[in-house]
Chain length 373, copies 2
DNA sequence: GCGGCTTCAGAAATCGTTTCCTAGCCTTCG
DNA sequence: CGAAGGCTAGGAAACGATTTCTGAAGCCGC
């Protein structure tokens, strides 16, 4: 009698074909169908074939919600970024998503727009959707929420440094190396007055980049006057405003290092408006190496932070937290390299060795660092 | 006896607090808790207060999967875009997401990278996740999949024109108006040789923009030679290649209209490499008005297609399809306006009225069209 | 004072899976 | 030849909600 109710050639809700339909069609139990679908080996080859055939015929698609409900895992990953409209992040999202999908996960994306409140509400929303883990590629998460999640052993991945708690995985970006290369590159060109436009200093990674700059300058014996350290906000508008501030100074720096490429684009725009020439009047260096950078006028010298690396590390770190038998389950740190890419927005400062500039500008770039083809 | 098993002050799985925990804490049944959470009015105010208190105390969060399983609705929307790394789409995604979240929906994002195969697999993945509806902001979906979805009365929203089937909602962008404004703007400046770099012509919206261009030119009595119609692919690389093709021609056009802003950025870069000056040597006009456009060197004259409008229409159209009592449930078309925004990448062609160029370039812009502040 | 109607809360069925447990069958070994 | 043990497949119990149905009050009117 139960068979007569379950065996539904006429489905109760239109378009919904479920595991029971497959089972009755193949003449097996739903448990067997489940085993076949999940590739559990303990099922007879002949039966499995019949099940696959039935699945094909009725057009069965497993219901993810039901599956998640009982298994307790949703195979969804959360990815929280600072600002989806900053081109660096779509590039990261794309890489992340491709990798995640290839490994059978879906991705839920959230953008905080640099508002700490949003980070929390995003995480809550994602938890409600039962994501298996969250990668936080921004800042602003409150300690006590993290604390709770850690207690639940919920897989979390942070960039740079999360709160100092166990069971959190961290992607450590080697800002110092890239920034050091950039500073040395500028110094080698003859720059002595290098300004720095930072990101919003609430952001850990922005502070890290700024500190790396100061350290590199100090290593060269250079003291940076405070008026050459400007806080931006990682947007073009911020870069523009910061550069306008710098051009208003009595002593204009001969080079500007920016905390990200969007800032650098804003700087280029500000210099365009004040008719300063780049790189003749002033050199500009970015950070991130977004795809756009090489299309700027002039193409932007910048520090590359590999999206591919970052995304791959994030996915791996999440899986390490989710799957208890993951080979890297015990690993807590992933290291992401950075590297200077020299293009045409950096050159000898005006007045120094003009002849050399003319002759060597082409050959000079990318000497010890990555060559831009 | 069942009470002793369900009443779990010690939860069976760590961190999972469910409706039963709330019920036993508040001393009510799970049905009542459900009613309270869903704001169903037939529950006593005092009881409701007790339930809310219990919810607060145990930190209850409803399990979305279970809810979706029984209610048949997931409150998730799918959004499929052409290419997430084209800055237009993150802007759209952001607007869409903000609106959706404000209305209680979550968003699943997919990027096809212009591969038709991916559109299909994306839709399938989204269906598997039980999204309530999908907005397809790109092309390449196969008719028979759509046919199946239409039969299931699955809410679908297309841009421009989906397959001609009932029960599909369409966002019609008025490309013709924006393109016409752009062409007339260039013509008014004195341009007679205007080239057009299209998008990939498999894409409906790319064809629509191209046709609008040809029509506008025809209205002015201008015939466009075939070598001035170049097919691009909506990327910077495509724009660059297309422009390189154009600069190789015997007769260089005096203006180039691009099917989107990324193409225009590629064009600017190509012209930079060939040391052509914009707008003195050649005028460049884009389409989309991405945020980046105003920061280009020079700031890009472009046709604005409002993300806000588009996103709002998409969300509204989806909800109209999902919620049977929606006020616009019967509406099948939404109209999206476009409008020229004049900036500094367009000017009089070299040789014509040079004096006027000098004197009027500043005042001229934005005469009959939107003024860029 | 009692019957019927309204209101509100609880019991139980259901959604579509996974997974544990058990029953049968076949093999193998004593 | 019989008992033990290993496979395989099915039955049934979860998973955490919604929702229908049922039943117990309370109130009103006759």
């Amino acid at each position: 009698m139960s068979a007569s109710r379950n065996n539904s050639s006429d489905q109760r809700r239109s378009g919904t074909v479920n595991i029971r339909d497959v089972a009755s069609r193949a003449g097996v139990s739903i448990a067997t169908v489940s085993r076949v679908v999940n590739h559990i080996a303990t099922v007879d080859a002949e039966l499995a074939r019949r099940v696959w055939k039935a699945i094909e015929e009725v057009g069965y698609v497993p219901n993810t919600q039901a599956r998640a409900l009982v298994s307790g895992r949703s195979r969804m990953l959360g990815l929280i970024v600072s600002e989806i409209t900053n081109p660096f992040f779509p590039e990261l999202v794309q890489e992340f998503e491709n990798l995640a999908v290839a490994q059978g996960y879906e991705v839920l994306i959230g953008s905080t727009n640099y508002e700490p409140v949003r980070t929390e509400s995003l995480i809550r929303r994602m938890l409600q959707r039962n994501v298996d883990g969250v990668a936080v590629m921004t800042f602003g998460i409150e300690e006590d929420l993290v604390q709770k999640l850690v207690e639940r052993e919920f897989p979390l991945v942070f960039v740079d440094a999360g709160p100092a708690l166990p069971n959190i995985r961290v992607l450590k970006v080697n800002y110092a190396e890239g920034i050091r290369q950039a500073v040395q590159h500028l110094a080698a060109l003859g720059h002595r007055h290098i300004a720095f436009i930072s990101g919003p200093l609430r952001l850990r990674s922005a502070v890290a980049r700024r500190d790396a700059f100061l350290k590199s300058m100090a290593e060269l014996g250079q003291i940076v006057p405070p008026e050459h350290m400007v806080e931006g906000n990682h947007t073009m508008e911020g870069g523009m405003a910061a550069m306008e501030h710098l051009t208003g100074l009595a002593e204009l720096p001969t080079a500007v290092l920016c905390s990200n490429d969007m800032t650098a684009i804003g700087v280029l725009h500000a210099l365009y408006r004040t008719t300063h020439k780049v790189p003749e009047d002033i050199s500009v260096v970015g950070f991130d190496d977004i795809h756009l950078a090489q299309f700027m006028l002039p193409p932007l010298t910048t520090v590359q932070m590999s999206c591919k690396h970052l995304a791959a590390a994030a996915v791996e770190a999440l899986r390490a937290g989710i799957e208890s038998d993951h080979p890297k389950a015990a690993q807590t740190e992933w290291h992401i390299p950075t590297q200077l890419v020299v293009r045409q927005s950096s050159a000898f400062p005006r007045g120094t060795l003009p002849a050399l500039v003319e002759r060597n500008a082409g050959k000079r770039k990318g000497a010890a660092t990555k060559r831009n083809k």
